[in-house]
Subunit: 208 residues, 2 copies
Amino acid sequence: MTAVAAKDTRNEDKHRAILRAAEELFMQNGYATTSMDAIADHAGVSKQTIYAHFQNKENLFVGMMEGMCCRYGYPMECMLGEAQAGKSPADTLSALGMQKLRLIALPDAMGLFRLVISESTRNPELGRIFYEQGPKFTNKLLSDLLDAYVKAGTLKISNTSAAAETFYAMLCQPLHLKLMIGVDVDTSEKALKQHLDEVVTRFIKAYS
Amino acid sequence: MTAVAAKDTRNEDKHRAILRAAEELFMQNGYATTSMDAIADHAGVSKQTIYAHFQNKENLFVGMMEGMCCRYGYPMECMLGEAQAGKSPADTLSALGMQKLRLIALPDAMGLFRLVISESTRNPELGRIFYEQGPKFTNKLLSDLLDAYVKAGTLKISNTSAAAETFYAMLCQPLHLKLMIGVDVDTSEKALKQHLDEVVTRFIKAYS
DNA sequence: CTGCGTTTGGACTCACCAGTCCATATATGT
DNA sequence: ACATATATGGACTGGTGAGTCCAAACGCAG
């Protein structure tokens, strides 16, 4: 008798294909303008299969959004080890900062943000999930680091949580806004590095 | 013979009513989910009247968005005289900053932002118009002021344009994000003032 | 009062879409 | 091979919505 039985993965494969198709189409066209027929076509499944997996359109949307939000903070968390290795504040901020810049410029991240902004009024839970898995999480990572620097006497910050928010705001907001609304902005590695350096310099000056 | 003839204003009145109804409903429900029938009802006109004034739904939407964008920078421009009266950087930044905080928290401003974010991929002109009448304009106002302080030797800023962006990012982004996605945030006058003071302090320290 | 621009209510066409139903096919596990 | 879970293609229902058409009403200006 075999210890591990073979397993029918049709369910999972189809489920994944549906979610992936939903991601692409919802992000591309928005919630209201994306039809279940289109998602079915894109996923290579029948519409009835979607309804076998998800109760309705909204249920698919929320499931998809939760999945995407869960993936949001992951890359930043992976950076944490690297950033902790006894480095100076400037080095730490630079490493985390560059990672954050790259993250917000990802098409998926931008698509997710767009959906949250446009759909969170009619489904407020989306905003909460997005915030907790995303900004709140990444801010916490940074504020913990800042706490360590404060304890070591390197920086003077009374509210590291607000300071972390401030750092990411300085770093990301101008670029993010332009990307989101399609205004020309230089996203070359050189330009990003320059901006990052300037922000790190100013931030440290402001908090030391 | 009278110098000024009476004038039929039905056109203008209806036109305005249509635009106002469009604003409210598009902001409330998004573009795709708002029907022309609903706008007609809300404006108190017949649907055919809308089509007598606007070629189609998209045309109405763009006209409405342009009208709203034109109103975006106006309050900030009005602040300009006040802010210039030989004040210190801190006082100037505080005055402009508080005005900006109030502006971004206006339901109309938030609704406009939401529409720009969600609709600018399919109509890129919206992003451009919004950016130029809004952020770019208000940033220019501030960077001109910063230029004056730099010339007077009060602040040390090599790129006032970027610095203006940074100031507004520090000031507005954390609050704005939370407002936009419906996360709890303290918007009491006291909390705003406190945040503003902190940001002004840090900004000046970073650039002097 | 008359001419004409503006507006109206209602009906209409055509396309789209969420969700349902159905008979059948397919694939898996025993 | 058989039982059963999963998936399919296609048709369908009922509703919605952009835009059009039409005859008539309304309101303004001269």
